[in-house]
Amino acid sequence: MAPSVFVALWLCSGCGSNGPSPSSYPPGPESGKPLHGGKLIFLRETDPDYLDPGLAYTILGAPLVQACGRTLLGYPRRPGPDMNHLEPDMAQSMPAVLEGGRVYALKVRSDERFGAPVLRHVTAADFKYAIERLFRVDSPGLSFFMNIEGASDFQLHKAKEIRGLVARGDSLYIRLDSPRPALLYALAMNFAIPVPPEVGEKHAQDYSQHIVSTGPFNLAEYSPRRRVVFVRNPVCRVQPFADTVEVRLGVTAENAVAQIRKGQADGGFFELPASEYARLRRDPQEHDQVQVADDLSVYYLALNMRIKPFNDLRVRQAAAWAMDRRALVKVWCGKGDVAYEVLPDGIPGYAPGELYHVPDLPKARELLRQAGYPGGVDVTLYARNEEPDPRTAEVFQAQLAEAGFRVKIEIIDGASFYAEVGRPSNNFQLMLGSWIMDFPEGSDFMDVLLNGERITDQHNNNLSLYDNKAVNAAIDRNLAEADMPKRAAEWARIDKAVMRDCAVVPYLHARNTRYYARRLGGYFYHPIRVLYLDRVYIKEPRAAAAAFKAAR
């Protein structure tokens, strides 16, 4: 072979896709006939935190964990307005609620089986084991199950099992300390994915490498920093379109976008870089492949209400009147909506905020003067070192300066930021906080971020140290409320009360962006599951479809 031919072959090997070109497929998620089988390739830069369902706790890791695991309750595997509503998944039906909301009774479907190598029926004992295991592995999901009767004793090693969890055959009974309807959402989280005790005990330290599936895929390979490979789980009730899904790790977002555009990969679990986002949205060929969805999150300015100057309502109001939140959306490259309330649109109880819509600098200066700071006041704002937080902090600095706040910015490393701002003893005055929901219910925001009874001296999430007795009592009452519409209305009322107290200044409900290849169909963003890997498929190419029609 001539050297030039060899070089040409070498250069072209391994970097092109073997299938039809991307333009052979119709654009968008819903077009094109689904093909069964085949291999899908997804990309992401970082490893999942864990594949162990008891330990995994990142939103981008969710699709990987849930590829191999299902829960008693779940969410619809189709897009639509009801996709945040709970429905039975591995359970036969929604739970029976007994004893005034203190006991939940569920029954596992008779056709649920563990994948290889266990290959046996999933029983209620496997769910009980999975929840108890959370305490053994110090799971970040522990707090969602602390309301189960006897959970505290089990954590303190005073009991050998959680007495509030009773498993009899396929029936699981959960008894709570007090009524907490939000438990149902916890049962749909990956922490409640069943684990067979025979494998969980054998691989207590490295279950991530030995996942036993109850989901549409089995874990075939997990090589940290290289790839995760899933193959069809033939015994699962929910069958995927694709036979194999490979998630390649360590691919930067820029390289991932190029690979997807060229048809070398089908999608990814990464946020589109701002420059690529703008370019792809403008490109008529790629426009339909970019998916933008609400994160169900809130980004806010937390004001420490225990120390000067923000212990004075007028100073907090001055800060709120000084801020032009529309400018922040630009900092976020348009990936978000302006927030004037805590609860994002999509969470039951969302009601648009009515206060501080338009900046009013004279009013802000006057409030500051009334509070005893006619010459302005020095404050320090703490932010993470991860974009766009530093730029957000600079915008706030400039805006607050107009009202008389002399803001000094302190940047903290992202890994230690929440540990630092979560220590009230640090006496931080202003902080850039954020919260992405764990489940689509108001308690995940209100109880965590704004209930004064939840303030702790370490790992505190109530950054403003807001402690309004009336609001605390209202939150506590609503946590036990089982009537969901009534519950949602109360969250909206509490949200308004918090805004009146100016406990936090929300500024953005973020949106996330995804980019998928043209040959991929069936994708939709699910706020909790992110992406159902079993619902995505390879489309039939246009030429093949036309030839098939002509032949008929």
Binding site: G14, C15, Y57, D138, S139, L142, D206, K262, T456, Q458
Partner: protein, 316 residues
């Protein structure tokens, strides 16, 4: 020689202990508790305390350090807090990738840097010299991540000649795929070093060329190529070898930027992720691993000296 070697080895071990101690101290000086990071955003005090106990972080710092040294001495570098992988195993998986990257880059930069430096030195102030020095300046000035991104855009995305990042195992794709995937990272990394080596070689060759013995060699009627090969280069290469030893050892510790841009799962990325996640065992493992290479490289360079220049003798 044996006594010298033993003494050097003992000093090397002391250096490794000091490096470990400094890394350990810096790790705990950073205000972040690994247990809090693992525990998640809802963690209670009890959960954090339980994790600290499980990881041994509840022990006094000196006790933790001595325990680490004791385990490390017998080859047990512990488990990663996050991936739950054995540190030694993770380093063992990452090192061949870093080795592949370093090996190819060294070949490229030596093939570029030394000839350019020699030609430039032999024809000072000529067009070649000026072009060579402009090349060196660009190589030294251009950041690796920028060069990498430009190469990926042009040669992978636009022209489609090379893959868009990723690493191909020899066992799976063969030597061709391995080299094909690494060609751009090699050139990216090599350009930076080629610039340094060209400048260094030029300076050394010019310096040695002005020595009396070189003039004598020329006066004796030796051909210009013989003078350059036998008398100039052999002496001019001594500092280059020193630099090479240190650079290679340094790169074995990971070329973080090049690895990240091209998605090569090497030691650099492993260390970077460990630092960000406050994964103490992995941080200690990767730092110690890099330190071992630097210490060993120093030792090897000293030994190679004696072969390159017979006037240098190891003194026991």
């Amino acid at each position: 020689m044996t006594a010298w070697l033993v003494r050097r080895l003992l000093w090397s071990m002391l250096v490794l202990v000091i490096v470990s101690g400094v890394t350990f101290t810096i790790f705990f000086a950073i205000p972040a508790n690994p247990a809090e990071l693992i525990a998640g955003k809802y963690a209670s005090k009890q959960t954090i305390a339980s994790i600290e106990k499980r990881l041994g972080l509840d022990q006094p710092k000196p006790v933790q350090f001595v325990r680490f040294l004791g385990r490390a001495a017998i080859g047990d570098w512990g488990f990663s807090y996050t991936s739950q992988q054995q540190v030694r195993e993770a380093i063992g998986q990452a090192f061949p990738k870093t080795l592949s990257l370093t090996f190819g880059a060294v070949v490229v930069w030596l093939l570029l840097g030394i000839p350019i430096g020699v030609i430039s030195a032999l024809k000072p102030r000529s067009l070649w010299d000026r072009l060579a020095m402009i090349f060196a300046l660009i190589g030294i000035s251009a950041p690796a991540y920028w060069l990498g991104l430009v190469f990926l855009k042009v040669f992978s995305d636009m022209l489609g000649w090379f893959p868009l990042g990723d690493y191909a195992e020899i066992a799976q794709g063969g030597w061709g795929a391995w080299a094909h995937h690494l060609a751009l990272p090699w050139v990216t990394l090599a350009l930076l070093y080629a610039g340094w080596y060209a400048r260094m070689t030029r300076a050394e060759v010019m310096h040695v060329s002005s020595m009396d013995y070189v003039r004598t060699a020329r006066a004796k009627g030796l051909s210009p190529s013989t003078v350059v090969w036998k008398h100039v280069l052999r002496n001019a290469l001594l500092p280059i070898v020193t630099m090479l030893g240190m650079d290679v050892a340094y790169l074995f510790g990971g070329a973080v930027l090049t690895e990240t841009v091209f998605g090569i799962p090497g030691i650099g990325g492993l260390a970077w992720r460990a630092i960000r996640q406050r994964d103490l065992p992995m941080v200690m493992g990767t730092v110690l691993f890099a330190a071992i290479f630097i210490v060993v490289a120093n030792l090897l360079v000293d030994i190679v000296y004696t072969f390159l220049d017979p006037r240098i003798k190891v003194e026991a």
